[in-house]
Subunit: 370 residues, 4 copies
């Protein structure tokens, strides 16, 4: 069983993460991790902080001679912004925030933890935490790659501008997405997306959208139908829904499938030759049947709400005084869907890596391959 | 921490479930459990088996003098159909199925478990297992009710026929749904849904749809933003996605929110008077911000695919011979969205009960209330 | 990951257990399970109830054609005594017990669960629950046997009478123990043990002792040193300490080792020929180094306290009145060490089976063997 | 549920740990943590490394204004020795060890992870990792202290020299232990222990012993009898047995109790006045009955084997060549029982803190106190 815990605040010294259960003998490509960290930081519509941070991972444990040893990995990502906050942090003199912002963790967190200041909540609820997850996901991808599994993502919709995703294999779509600053493989839609982002910035507003994570090459039979909490679709849903601002998850085009009759939804089998080899002409199931991978690409679609920090103030209440108050703007992005899609890759990769380790057993990559 | 495990096959003697972690002193209303079991079995569009089964729960452990003792509960639901299967079961002479049905667990399960017969797979992957979950959910509801939390559901869409959900409080919507054999609070849409089901039956086809589970009265601060796997939206997503045939989950109208600008999505705060009490005019967040309940009703929407068993055969391959073959019809429903919505209630109730026990601590209901 | 939950009360209708995670294709030998159930019920010094119960397992789920399917197993063991209790149980008219018995769960359980009657506590805290664990352990043994791992036990001490365990291989010791009604491979000591039991019965007292569970054939490298909760010795300690009345656990002769210098404790390596094959002349480590199996037999020793129910009354307090009171005798055994040693086998087998499934992966026995 | 994961190698840059689930509002006394780190490093019989390291904790996350926020804590303890290893580490040029040392993780780890060099194993299996646990335990103690629970330890035996533990309350025994460089409250025995350590050093040998961790003030009802894995004695056994070199665990004097009749073992109740308040004249149960705390001090005794690194070589085999070889000495201690007793405190404190959080619920210390 793989496990990871992240820690760290948005304006604290660093993010840290411990990753438990990776097999020994996995070559750890630090540049691949940093590349994913950079991918998370890019994208049209990001705010000022992304200019400050250039995330790099430090490996503090679990790797000897560039390979995992079976021991837990300890990773650290420094917050460059820390230099600007260090003194206030040490003095315990951080800017207070007693007017909770709609859509943020502020209000629920203050009530839950008995605080009259949202600072401790927003420091941890910030999407900055997802950098740590991207590092974890990059490790998961390295493991999956040893077994022919690849994970990538595209942006399908921003602010209501929907892409016509071309009918190409996933790796080709991913390549198109990598070349786009909105991670969209449909260039016409990408233009519209950028315009929508510009308009939202102009209006002091923010945008959400839809991204699609896919995984190719996963073997048949990851996950299981036998117990509710072993279903892979359910685990994927938990993992992707845990990304801040993601509020909807589909395996394949689920909401659209729900409107169609069964004969138009279920992916018929075709013979490939050998007894157990079958093929499908369609993949409306998103690669999962009965809570298990079925050999087709795993396709997870996620709906991200607009970023809850808007320049245009929203109505709120000052919890310190009980008076009505307008939200105050905190530095933020206008749209983070491209970034979130990279985090989505990480979470999907993590769930698949966990299921693969469970399926193959083994304490080293070599043993897993036997 | 609450835990449960279910067991049992669709045509075996019974379903069983063990529920761990419920506090002592909870009055166990067996009729309330049976009522939910009956609700799951009803609905326009169910097939022949529902005429055979009249599910009743037997409590085999964990309850003394009609109250929980803190010990695990052991529940059994007999399969009445068992009388028809007992002999074949004992003889190990169950009908074989070597032609996997698209949309079912058949193919992935056969490959995963190394079988050339899908019988062991479909026996466990059958939606019959959800009866056990409904019993668990009924227990969770009883616990939640002690703390003023209510859980109910409505059907919002079947086969593309969408309801106009009236602007009423949830309990009123639930009452309308209870009075409808498609669990739809919009009578005009309900008529269309029944027509769609009739047409699908006529055509040898099947239908899916969308249901909405809501919970009222949950305190602020269930779940947490501090670690990915403690977010309540993520846990709800896992729980609801684990229902067979559910392939999409939203917290509130997430996919619609993803198309709107932030100022139209985030639910502004209004003053109620006392310092910490606030209200909202809208609930587009579905009752969860930052992975925590925010005091508004928790709203989970789920997309269910059409039932994968269709009278109209689908193309497949006989895995025993490698020859192309058409699927053979197994007794099934045309549409099970109303039933699934009851299972959805169970899973949402379970997640909330677990979070409530974590939040309040306590080994007895009385202690939890202190 | 293997999981199991047990449920059921001592005088309720039955014990039930659900076992999750066993691979498919395991031949389930019901007679082997019943044999272990009978072994738990035997032994010199057992009380009246053992004459009533003849435990048999019913399998209610997870097995088709005598083989596991990968689905959870559901087991039931009826309480024959139930016939005598059924009416009082249904009427909620069970004998109350408000005078907690020293050494029992009574007092702590009453306070924890807010009760003034220990009945709900003792019904679940009773050692009868261990019958369910023995059934689980028998399944684990069946799985281990497929991989050449055998688990057995002997009694080393009862009431201060210590065996001289002969210098034989474990299977030979086990055979001697099976032939002894105190499960002791040293016949001279066995005589003394029986005398001690007789004397204790005479005196209205009870006895404890020490048993030793061993497992042969476990591969090197089950468990891991890399994280505290993955150490196999720690998991074994938890599992064996969880047996009611067991209060001490050693891996090998740990307390004796603690008195010796290192050069007399650590098991030196000998060459066997091939590079990686080594042997040891001694096994003072009890088969575990660094929290991992090392290829030698796993040896777990457990100290069981005397049964806390004694005919001779002990001083207590009536929690209903606050008055001093003497404990009242409840039907019980004088000595249950031989029975507990069978439960010990079950728990050790469970931990090893779990570690083996983790190490080998695989969803079926066949796949695990590849 | 509390969770923690540690990471880091013995000669790597640092140890790190993430601690999840602590309530908000706990005052984090860094000096208290450092004090426990120093206590672990002390003790008669420690080797050269303890002169190099002066452990200090850095808090990298989860604390604002000296209080926990509910977010996970991230701790780092630098390895001062790292300065001496940094270059070799970066170059991947660490001293190889292909001759496994009896009693160490070397052999099992090499086989498990498929290595011909034990370096990656010993780096993680080293007792240095326990510094991270001590930091975790210090946090747990701070939480427990808020609820009147104190945890301490004494050394009862070293190299066969057993203390006569005076009949004093635990806090007094702890004070005596703190004043002793072998953590022994019996000064006469302490002299013998030091002599034994000197003699062992002289002889190129090593010693083990027995330590006793106790906790006072724990409320009745932590843990539960209702399910095997919820028993507190079992969880304590796992936690303490997970300390490197600990191979035996008792709750109270369990092995001695096993030799006595029940009437001499079970702790009789005495009236204190109020209905539910009772007292005991003895505590042979070690504070736990039925897997739950019973209001008496929790007493856990642990047997530690002699340190497996001895100056006197032991017979082994070079796994790289298959040739017989003698072990080579690695810098180590002669006796680490006093250090291990501090780690024992940490693990006991952790288990109790976890159980307390489960019992009391609550997201902040203030809420837990209501």
């Amino acid at each position: 069983m793989l496990r990871f815990l992240t820690a760290g605040e948005s304006h604290g010294p660093c993010l840290t993460v411990i990753v438990e259960g990776l097999p020994a003998g996995l070559a750890v490509d630090v540049e691949a991790i940093d590349r994913d960290l950079a991918r998370r930081q890019g994208g049209y519509g990001r705010g000022g902080r992304m200019k400050i941070e250039r995330d790099k991972v430090d490996i503090l444990g679990g790797v000897l001679c560039d390979k995992t040893t079976g021991a837990p990995l300890s990773l650290r990502i420094e917050n460059r912004d820390w230099a600007n906050w260090r003194q206030r942090w040490a003095a315990g003199d951080l800017p207070r925030l007693s007017v909770p912002r709609p859509g943020h963790a502020d209000y629920a967190g203050m009530v839950k933890y008995g605080l009259d200041d949202a600072r401790p909540i927003l420091e941890r609820a910030s999407a900055r935490e997802t950098a740590a997850r991207v590092a974890v996901g990059a490790l998961a991808k390295l493991l999956l790659a040893e077994f022919g599994v690849a994970v990538g993502s595209v942006v399908a919709e921003i602010g209501g501008v929907a892409a016509q995703v071309p009918d190409l294999a996933w790796p080709e779509l991913w390549a198109l997405a990598e070349a786009s600053d909105v991670r969209c493989p449909d260039e016409a839609a990408a233009i519209g997306m950028r315009q929508a982002i510009d308009a939202a910035r102009e209006a002091g507003d923010s945008l959400g959208g839809v991204f699609v994570v896919a995984a190719t090459g996963a073997p048949v039979g990851l996950g299981s139908h036998v117990q509710w909490d072993r279903r892979l679709d359910a685990r994927l849903a938990q993992a992707v829904m845990s990304i801040p601002a993601v509020k909807g998850v589909e395996i394949g085009p689920a909401f659209e499938n729900a409107r169609r009759p069964g004969t138009q939804v279920h992916d018929e089998f075709e013979r490939v030759g050998a007894t157990r080899r079958v093929a499908r002409a369609s993949n409306r199931a998103g690669g999962i049947e009965g809570g298990m991978t079925n050999g087709e690409p795993v396709v997870v679609r996620a709906a991200m709400k607009p970023i809850p920090t808007t320049v245009t103030p929203l109505r709120s209440v000052d919890l310190a005084t009980g008076e009505e108050a307008a939200t105050q703007y905190q530095r933020s992005d206008v749209c983070a869907v491209p970034a979130a899609s990279v985090v989505g890759e990480a979470m999907v990769a993590w769930v698949l890596a966990d299921a693969l380790v469970e399926k193959l057993g083994g304490d080293s990559v070599e043993e897993m391959k036997r």
